[in-house]
C-alpha cells in the first residue's frame, strides 16, 4: 500500500492564538503536518531555509518584516517555493503585489476551514488557488490604468 504523501507546512503569523489554532487544525489532517512556525517575516525566511516546507502560509501584515517582503525574499532564494497568502482583509494593494511576487494561493482568514485545506492541497499540487472575491477584485484592478506602474 502506498503511504500518502504528507504536506509539510510552515505557518507565519504574528498572532499566537491564530498560529496555534491554525497549527492544531492542520495537524488534525491526515495528509498535513506543520513543521515550522514563525511570528515575523525574517523568522519566516529563516524557518523556510531550514525546513524547506512544501507549502508556507504567510500573513501579509506582521510586525518587523511584513509578509510581502518575506514572500519576495523567499521566492528570490527558492524560486519554486509554494506560498499561500493568508490575510485578514482583502482590500489591500499588497495582495496584488504578493501574487505578482510569486504567491500561488490566497485565502482570507476566517474563511471556512475546508477552503484553506483545499487551497493548501491545490497549491501543493502546483496549481494556483485564489479566493473568488479576490479574482473579481484583481480583474477590476487590472483594467484600471496605472496600476502596473506601481512598484
Amino acid at each position: 500500500m502506498k503511504v500518502p504523501e504528507t504536506i509539510r507546512i510552515l505557518i507565519a503569523d504574528d498572532h499566537p492564538v491564530v498560529r496555534e489554532g491554525l497549527s492544531a487544525m492542520i495537524n488534525r489532517q491526515p495528509d498535513m503536518k506543520v513543521v515550522a512556525e514563525a511570528g515575523e517575516g525574517s523568522e519566516a525566511c529563516e524557518q523556510f531555509s531550514q525546513h524547506r516546507p512544501d507549502v508556507a502560509l504567510i500573513d501579509l501584515r506582521m510586525r518587523g518584516m511584513d509578509g510581502l517582503h518575506a514572500i519576495l525574499a523567499i521566492r528570490r532564494r527558492f524560486p519554486g517555493a509554494r506560498l499561500v497568502v493568508l490575510t485578514t482583509f482583502d482590500d489591500n494593494e499588497d495582495i496584488y503585489r504578493a501574487l505578482q511576487g510569486g504567491a500561488k494561493g490566497y485565502v482570507l482568514k476566517g474563511a471556512p476551514r475546508e477552503e484553506l485545506l483545499e487551497c493548501i492541497r491545490t497549491v501543493h499540487a502546483g496549481k494556483s488557488h485564489i479566493a473568488p472575491e479576490v479574482v473579481a477584485r484583481l480583474a477590476e484592478r487590472l483594467g484600471r490604468p496605472g496600476l502596473t506602474e506601481r512598484q
Binding site: 492564538v17 491564530v18 476551514r113
Partner: protein, 358 residues
Amino acid sequence: MAIMNPDGLQFRALVVEDNPADALLLEDVLRRIRDAQFEIAHVERLEDALASLAVASYDVVLLDLGLPDSQGPDTVTRLRQSQPGVPVVVLTGLDDEAVGISAVQLGAQDYLVKGGFTPTVLGRTIRYAIERKRAEQAMMAQLKEAAIVEERNRIAGEIHDILAQDFVGILLQLEAARELNGSNPAEVAKCIQLAEAVARSGLAEARRSVWALCPPELDAEGLVGAVQSFLSRVAVGNPTAIGFSLRGEPYPLPNDKALGLLRICQEAVVNALRHAQASKIRVQLTYEPSGVDLCVHDNGRGFDPKAHVGGKGFGLISMRERAERIGARIEISGEPGQGTRLTVAARTSMGNGEGHIS
C-alpha cells in the same frame, strides 16, 4: 463676507476704538479707500466687540489696544479666543510699535500706527489681512484633515492587529470544537476554554480602544484626575498591578499639553499590558515649576527600542509624534528582560493661567 458690487468690493468692518477722535479719523480714512466700500460698525469696549461679533459677521476687525476694559496685547488674545476666525488689524500709538509686533505674534494679521496711514495703505492692509487669514484657515483645515486621517489609520490598524485577529482565533477554536464533535470531550472543552479566553481579551482590548478614542474629561478632572481614572478603569479585571504616584503640587496646564501627556500615558500603559507581559506598572507625574514629567515604568520583558524604530504597531512613533507636538522630550529605555521605562518631560511656564486646573 466681502461681495463684489458694481462699485468694487464691499466689506463689513468693526472698529473697536474708545477715543472718539481716533474713531472718526479712522472711519474717514476707510470711506476714502477707492475700489472698496465699507459698512462700518463702531464699539468702544472689547466686551461690546465680542458681543457684536457673536451675532454678526465682519470681514475685518480694526482693534485699538488701549480700551477701557482691556489693554495691551492681551486684547488680541481675548478676541482670538472668542472669535478665532475673523481677521484682526491692530491700531497702535506712534511710540508703541513693539506692541503691534507682539500683537501680530499673538495672532493679529497686521498692525498700523495711528495717523500714519493713507487710504491706499489701509485698504491694502485690510485686503492682505483677509487673505492671510484665509490662507491660515485653509492650512489649519489641512492640518486637521491630516490629523484625522492619521487617527483613522491608527484605529484601522488597531482593529486589524487586535480585534480581527482575536475573531480569527475564536473561529479557529470553535471550528476545532465542531470538528471534534464530542469524540474527545477533554479536547473540546480545551477549545471552548481557549475561545472564551480570546473573546475576553478581545473585549478588554475593544474597551481600551474606546477609552483611548473618547475625549477625556480633562476639564472636569484635570490631568491628574484623568490619568487616575484611566488607570483605575484599565486595572479592572486585569492581573497587572498598576500604581500611581504624584510628586509636587499640581497646577494648571494648557489643554494641548495636558491632553498630549494623557494620550502618551494611555498608550504607554496599554503597550505595557499588551506586549510587555508586565506584572507591575508604575505611573508617576511630577510637577516642578519648570515643567511636568510623566514616567511610566513596567517590569515586563522589555525590549530594545532601537530594534523597533520604523516598526509598525508598537505605538512608539505615535508617542514620539505626540511629544513633539507639545514640545516635550521623550525617552524610552528598555532592554530585553529589564522592563521598559518611558519618561516625558513637558516644559511649562507656571502660572500663565491658561487651560484647566490640574
